[in-house]
Each structure stands twice: as structure tokens, then as C-alpha cells.
Symmetry: C2
Subunit: 251 residues, 2 copies
């Protein structure tokens, strides 16, 4: 019996990404430098941080004028009011504003701490915002890489989110291109011929989590290649993953 | 530069698991049959379903006397009142009971649909409960496998959970043995010398999600080997992952 074997490979050497960088080109360059050949159905998982930097989604805090709300919240919770202001601007709704935590719904519909505004792995005084349209970001990278390597690929732009009920953070998919984000089991049956209750596995999120195991936070590996996963084919989007507020029992 | 390379391998051939089965022995047998050698720091991810079956955590619905609450809820939502009764008995608290969904806190502290009671991949009229103590289950499997192969291993017992805010399900860790469930970044600095805001990555959950990509739901691969991940060493437990209700903003 052939083994079901999935490989997760960090692309080494990718340097600090500058505004305007063509990430597809950059990735293909370092893939070649690593001597990796690229196969049909390979998945690239790309950290949000380098996508945001390439797209200029950075804010210099010195340019930010905080509102009264941001000043008050910042003062109460020992946070830079300019950072709080950026978070408020990136939010379309605040779910919780307590214990020093700002849990927000972003303009994309993602629910996460600080609306995805992040201060790590950026220069002092600079914060990154989420990409404006992570699906578009993924599609652009896909276009370049598919042309470079002449194969069909899937791309996931991933970020690190907390979640209710469980401690610790995990990586999830923000943007998706070249695959559907869910493996759909509707109508399928189990070993006993019973219809599966589980309808949709969020495989794009699972791929993002799997990639994080190789990315780490301090290893400088913002791009990871996953090989051997028969992803759900079709044109899907990361925007399909956030649950609409009406369908959500926990906001 | 050597590649950071992680492999995820499904153990083929594992048959339907019977009550009383020694899972460690069973897994080692099929590992050997597949011709796999086992290395130090390998991680085995084992599906909750076969752990529950081996431990006899199954209920025959014909033996269940539903309460009035179970009968009413079942009638309103077209659910078998005996199944509802089992869910209520496995719960220590109900978070939501609406739109036909029962979101419960289990006796272990996990928050999930139906308190982990599951009807898939079981014979008709039979449901599985979560293991009584998934950390103990993981520790037992670890003890047998470490002895069989003479190496240090980590074991994760995984299950499939939904989550708020995002559609689809992902695999998470219920039980953990031989590793800590979190990668701790406290005090570490990023490329720019800034202290990382992210403190703990839930790598046990990420390993469970990664394993699910190989397990699938219909492939009959309830045991997966993950090789190449430098997991956080120490004696950790899955019981550390559920957030305590006092620390949770979303119940």
C-alpha cells in the first residue's frame, strides 16, 4: 500500500520584504535557489506579514492622531493610543473591549485581536495592517508562480489568531487562491454506510496551521511549501471562511 | 542551507478497533507492517474515535432513557431524544441550545458541539463519547510505543471541533503526552529585536490540524505520524488547552 505522505518545507533565505516587492517573483527566486522543483497541486502558504509589507499596508505611528476613545482606552490599559487608534480604524465592529483586549471584526469580516494590526517583526514605531483584500493578494502570487513554474498551484495567505475557549494561538487562512477552503463531505458515507454528520472541514485553515509548525515566529521562514495534499479543487476564497454574524452564536 | 522539512504520514491498514484493544500495540504492529522506522521526537496523532472505541466509551441508544428536556428538545429539532440525553449527560454546562445546535462544555472543560458525542464511523444505534481522560489515553499509548521502539515520542489524541466566527471544522488536540501543548515565545525577540507580542502558539492543536489533512474522514487512516517537528519538550497535557471560563470573553 503506498503511504499517504504530506511534506511541509520552509523556503529558506527570504529576506526582509520591502514595499512594492513582487512576492511571486521573490518566492520563485528562493525556491530555485533552494533547488526545489515545483509540482502540480503544490500549496504555498505565505505569512500575512510579508504580504502586508509588500503591499505597503504599514502605518507609522508618528503620523496617527488618536481619538478621545483611543486616548482613554490606551491610558486605562497602558497601550499606545496611536496603536489603539489604528485598531479602531481597521474595525467595522468591536466585539469585546475589556481586560486590555480589543476583539474586533475587521472590514473583511475576520474576528481577531486588534483587528489584525500587529507590531511584531516590524521596525520600531511601525505597525502592519491586514492586506486590503487577502484573496486578491493570494491570486496575484498564484498568477506569478503558476507562470514561473508552469503548474497548477494553490496559495494561502495566513495569519496568527487567538480563539475563544482554547488557550494559545493558531495560524488560519486569510486569503485563498486556486482551491476551495473547505473539504465538503456532504452526502458522503462513513465505513458503516452512515451519512457523515460533518459537512465541511476547513482545510485551508488546517493547511495554515500545518505551515506554522515550520514557519515558527523567529525562524525567518515566511513562506512554506506543502506537497502531497489533494486539496479541494475549484475557485474558492478566504472570504468564504468568516461566519456571517447572523449565523454566529458567539458574538 | 538544510531545508526545514516536516513529514506527515498516515499509518495504513489499521482495522476497526474493538473494545479493550491495546492501541499502542496495534499502532506498533501496523507501523512495522508499513516498513516505517520510528525516530526520536516523532509525534503520533490518534483519532479520538478509535481511542473511545478501545476504551469502551460507546453507548447503545436502545439502553438510554431520555429525560423530559431531551424529549422536548429532540421533538422540536427532529433529533433522537436518546442522543440528546447522552449529550446532556456528557455536559457540565450548556453554552447554547438554539437553531438545533447544542454547544456544551464537557466534563473535561472542552467546548464543542454535542459535548463530543458522535454518531459517525460507528454502527447504527451506537454513539461514541469522548475518552474519560484523553491525557491518560495519550500517556498509555505513549508508554507502549516508546517501549516498542525505544525512542522518545509525543502522542496527541485529536478530535474534530467547530469554532465561533469561522465556518468549517478543524482538528484539535484533546489529549497530549510527551510534549507541552504550547510553544512559548515569552521573552523572545523578533528580527528587529522587539519583544514578541505573541506568547503561546497552540502547537498541539496545529499538529492535530496538520494530521487531519492526511486522516481525512473517509480514508480509514485514524493514526498519523508527524516527523521533523521540534516539539516543546516537557510533560504537558491537553487539559492545559481549554481556557477557564473566568478567562474567556465568549461564553
Amino acid at each position: 500500500m503506498p503511504l499517504s505522505d504530506l511534506r511541509i518545507i520552509g523556503i529558506p533565505g527570504i529576506p526582509e520584504v520591502e514595499i512594492g516587492a513582487n512576492l511571486g517573483k521573490l518566492i520563485s527566486e528562493y525556491v530555485r535557489e533552494a533547488g526545489l522543483s515545483i509540482h502540480n497541486q503544490d500549496v504555498f502558504v505565505v505569512a500575512q506579514k510579508i504580504v502586508s509589507k509588500a503591499e505597503g499596508r504599514v502605518v507609522h505611528l508618528k503620523d496617527v492622531e488618536p481619538s478621545l476613545l483611543a486616548c482613554r482606552w490606551g491610558a486605562t490599559h497602558s497601550k499606545d493610543p496611536r496603536l489603539v487608534e489604528v485598531v479602531l480604524r481597521e474595525s467595522r465592529r468591536l466585539l469585546r473591549m475589556e481586560r486590555g483586549l480589543l476583539i474586533a471584526e475587521t472590514r473583511h469580516g475576520f474576528v481577531c485581536a486588534n483587528a489584525g494590526v500587529d507590531t511584531s517583526n516590524t521596525a520600531m514605531g511601525v505597525v502592519t495592517l491586514l492586506p486590503e483584500d487577502p484573496d486578491r493578494s493570494a491570486a496575484q502570487i498564484r498568477r506569478v508562480l503558476e507562470k514561473e513554474f508552469g503548474v497548477q498551484l494553490a496559495i494561502i495567505v495566513s495569519d496568527t489568531f487567538g480563539r475563544p475557549w482554547r488557550e494559545g494561538l493558531v495560524n488560519v487562512a486569510l486569503g485563498v487562491a486556486g482551491m476551495r477552503p473547505f473539504a465538503d463531505y456532504r452526502g458522503q458515507t462513513d465505513r458503516f454506510g452512515r451519512r457523515l454528520e460533518i459537512t465541511q472541514m476547513a482545510v485551508a485553515d488546517e493547511l495554515a496551521s500545518a505551515a506554522e509548525l515550520v514557519m515558527g515566529k523567529t525562524k525567518g521562514l515566511p513562506v512554506v511549501l506543502i506537497r502531497g495534499f489533494a486539496y479541494p479543487e475549484g475557485e474558492g476564497h478566504g472570504a468564504q471562511i468568516p461566519r456571517s454574524p447572523e449565523r454566529d452564536l458567539f458574538r
